[in-house]
Symmetry: D4
Subunit: 219 residues, 8 copies
């Protein structure tokens, strides 16, 4: 149904205590065929998700599609910033959900809310989203941390995911739903997450600090 | 559900006598990270909503996200043109609906139809929209008076809001549903609202007046 | 509901024998503020709808929003190519459906399927679409024969219309559903309708005729 | 309904053993009026679908709209790469589903899942999609292997198809759902399908082979 | 030299009493491969040049490149609106200046200033421009009444033409240099030339007339 | 020559003590046909030039093309912010330099450096630029304070102006060459000039002031 | 100088009997970083140049930049379609003109007119262009058969090349200057060159042949 | 003159032994107003220039425009990667060349070739470029390491710089002219410079290393 599935009366937002994050097929070769989003933004978004999962201690599971072939290796940032992430190798399956080890790893997290990103959007992200929602998970598909071959492919995929009951979401919303509030001990860690994801925001912080420094010196 | 929620058989349009307007987080820093709409248009749209609320005496509630930090202050136009607006400070909550004072202020208006705009679209607008619709409000999300970090983020957000039962709407539609008719005492005030929101319309009025002046002199 | 409303088991396509066409507010001033579609294409699309209605003898009702003011007069092509169209003046109502004369004219056609186009898309098209679907009509909203102030406004409006049970459609589909087949007496009239709507198609016909002429001469 | 129709509890993905492919009206004249996708990409996508059907031995049915007129002949690649495809001539019907021979050919495949592409997207693809879903088929509409007259027409059509219960899909997703896994005898044939569809992927393979050749020589 | 050549101290603008206009290869097939300018605008620009030449009684010479082949026939508007134009057939030469009949026809006009437009910009326009400037003509190349295969091809061509001493110009400038003043007997004819070239201008005139009509009635 | 003309060994920059500013044909009707620059930016740029001329007491001369017709009246901002500007009526001449009163007014300023902006770029700006450079003036053409009918027309015009010895310049450069230094008594007036021309810069100032205010309060 | 250098009074066009073609660094890795032109178009343009050189028996020299590293191998089409091309290996030099073997090979052709294309435009094309023009060659730089990292890099490079006396040119112009006329024995070979370079042109030919076939059958 | 000035018969390329690099006004506030290039690319380009200067031991001089105000501080990357850079404070001058300390520092390098980048392109880059070329320097203006307020401003500025005798250049060309050859001791350092400047290139290297690793393991 064209409704966020499996929420059963809950508000259709992310409950971080119930969430696991799946980061799929962000590989050096596949990134070359991404055309719907500037690659620097895509990498920044994926990195920000990894950092956010680390900050909130959310389980992360990764995988790669035939990394020994032209698809290439996982970009190093994923495991660099989410050091706790678990990598599941697969045996050629395009849909990571067709791999029993992967599904078992997801189940082992005991989480029922999945935040998924994967390259390509219409394939490596979409297939496990549809599979997972079909098996009762609440699924958030992070479109701008995935990457597809064209704008039109992304437009089509957003419509397909919504139609299938998956919640389409962007990186900023995913981060903010995990953070929830600036009144928290690790607020500075969160400022760095945003700062890495958005250069414009990082510049705001630099300008802010400089302006305050000038004001203080003037006192 | 993927239907405008909470209308219960009513036509899913704005009833101005039942409407309150929430203008959220239109701040000098956050505006710098908006990339889906030209900033001059965004400011013009926000300003037009404020003027329209003033013209129709619709309650307006505003808030800002950590304005003492890099997010910056509210742009002055909001309270300048909606002098009756009530500002609610919050304590770091990203979702304004997580702030009890804010929710109380909304309830105090006794209105059940909410017209909401907020920067960023996918965060500061979307979160309270989903919360409010979940609590029984009829919610209109003014996408082009909000602003997100990319076109793709906006596309995703429109789909998510529709899926959640929120009505996505643009500024022109929001204005026109409040105005309803040109046969009204304050028609000139409305002409100025549109004129400020659309330079092309303002030029039409200038050309129209000039043409009539020439015609009259020729008589 | 987010389903084409009022079809009651019928295929959600246009039945030309049950259709009326509403062409609203295509005015010289309002056209200046259209920014989501090249104006030459918009005029060609509106003109093609008018011609198609004439070819198939479908009732056409037109109206204009305050044409004595800056909004300007109806572009002449509408009544030029649909000479049988009926013009309904209104008294300042933004939503043409708020005008009882207009609703009466629609009812008088005895048609229950409405093909509607209007400038602006989010206002003059959307409001009567939502009103009509609420009153039991099957409504097709011709987005690219309408025109809005921005791409983002159009994106928002497509989602809103679909959510409200209106069928969003483009001009080519509307024409083709009315035509249904090239095996018909007025096929040449239809070729001219398409030819006027799409310069690329007109050039195809010119090239085709030239190629055949050359081939015949060579025989 | 705005849900993938006729899946009856199945996951809404393509089951290749139940699928037939309909490739409609990819004609030399109609291609000239396609403006929503670069023509080289469109042809590559159509060709890839034909190859994939051949690789997986999926029935293919083709047709053309008035090919003896300005619409022109089918591009040769369709039957070249899907040599087993069956061509059904029609008698002027715009909607191929209005042609009884065509419907009979579809039925004869005994498949209930249809993968459809057709030029124009909003007409030659959309009409049979809506007809087929109405008659109980599970329908996947391959948007970027079709082609429409404008981006706005494509946006409208995606919304309309989703609203009608058709699954919108892109070429990459359609290919990958048919392939399912790289661990299969004809993996190299699939590599060539992708390689032809995406020049960036073909270059990846060339670079990969060169890098390995250099490494081996160095040993 | 990278200077407008052959002006010898004159202001490098068009002297209409010395000008001839060359309209080359605006053909139904070649138009299909134009991608740097919307085709409706291109046709409007070419048509406006033809009308302007007729209004100012400037000699017009036309030609076509292998019109009996896939390049197709001249679009009919050229000779329709410049009825006095002289058509010169050629014998396969790509550069019209390689055809002695054509050069003779140009010489016969006794004009030394040439206004040239031709499809494709980088070929059918550029080659005769460079040839003519080499033979002492003052040459104005009307870029947006020509049409090339890509934006990049047009950018390159503007640089090449300027480098070769040809003056690059747009249609509006070419028209206005021919018109020179609104204080002239055929001012209304010129208003129609602009009106046909720019729909936005035509709408301005419609709005202007309507506004004056309203003002006069009110008197 | 393709060199900034008439500088005779001077650095080709603006000497504000020798400069006069010509603001031409910025009219309510002509603005409707501008398509190469967002209209809000164009108006902001023209306004900034007027303010800068007022700040530096540079002579300003304005004119309008047939303002009693569809071209419409001058936008009010020009004379509002450059109250000392002199308006010269003309008698239908397209090129303002063909009007002897205008040329006399320019001469009366005794300035030999001209900063010119005018709508349309390729016509109302370009013609007087070429005329003036021919008569020995040093001419700066402010492209983004003018406005043309298309991007391609602007590209062509930049090349033509450079070829003719005119210096093409943007508004920011024109402002900064007039300002020269922030160490000057009217630095705040200049901050407001930039602030009005660039909303992003205005927001920077708002954020800067807020950050300093917070820092001071914290002391 | 900003003039096509070394023409010494000749018309600055390509003399095919004096031309050699240099195709540089079109490599599988470097192609991945090209962003100013769709890769399918770039490959088609490079291929067309190779075919044209073969058709006209023009010497072709190729080279690659560190092909044993990440830059990757030459795309196979170059030598496939210009079987007579001579490959010169180099020793790490970025500018191919710094390699004495390459310069010797160019000299050995005895041609003084060079048609050069190379990836990246601003590097591998530009450096040898500037070197060669400095040594007295007449140089044509084929911008859209090269490829750079951004549109802005291409814009900058066109200006730099023109300033240095190199003639910037697009693929279509390069082909047409080599072909010169359709009245030649190998006209069909040329039709295939264009057909491969432009899918729209290939479709024109398909439509043309079909139309003639229909006409002949009807006779 | 519209020729690269001051080369006096030298090839107009960068001689690294004679070059100094000026990196101007890359500040946290000014970056917010850059709109002609994605900010992530701009920062990567500036950083790459700094690294290249460090690799080749080229003198670097930096400056900032009123960094104590809203323009903000220099982005930290400049001095981080070019630790040897010399910072020159100025006293409000917009054109850094108006500051005697800065000019003295340039002279002290004894270099006559300047590679300059600065934000904004049309102001902070252009003014010192024109000043320096006037004083006999050979000047290369790195357009895509600068940043302007709009695409149109950049287009204008490229034309103005070329007209003034400055060589417009992009970052890739500037890097490659400094590197000259891969056969050099610090080739790996250069690979990292490119890798940081172009994510697509970095991914190529990752894929290359992975492919070789796989090949070696297979041996």
């Amino acid at each position: 149904m064209d409704t966020p599935l499996n929420f059963d009366g809950r508000v259709p937002t992310i409950d971080s205590s119930d969430a696991a994050m799946l980061l799929l097929d962000h590989q050096s070769g596949l990134f070359q065929i991404v055309k719907d989003i500037p690659l620097l933004e895509l990498r920044a978004n994926v990195t920000a998700l990894a950092k956010a999962a680390a900050a909130e201690k959310i389980p992360v599971i990764t995988s790669a599609s035939v990394p020994q072939g032209p698809n290439g290796r996982l970009i190093p940032e994923v495991h660099q910033f989410a050091a706790h992430a678990q990598y599941i190798a697969r045996r050629g399956e395009v849909n990571v959900w067709d791999n029993p080890d992967f599904v078992a790893a997801v189940k082992a997290t005991k989480r029922k809310t999945l935040i998924i990103a994967g390259t390509l959007t219409s394939v490596c992200l979409t297939f496990p989203c549809i599979s997972a929602v079909h098996e009762g998970y609440r699924v958030f598909a992070v479109i701008d941390a995935s990457g597809s071959v064209s704008q039109i492919a992304t437009d089509v995929t957003i419509a397909r995911l919504a139609q299938a009951g998956v919640v389409p979401i962007d990186t900023m919303a995913a981060l903010a739903e995990l953070q929830k509030s600036w009144s928290r001990p690790n607020a500075m860690e969160w400022a760095q997450v945003y700062s890495g994801a958005m250069l414009h925001y990082q510049l705001l912080i630099q300008s802010y600090q400089k302006a305050q420094q000038v004001a203080r010196r003037a006192n």
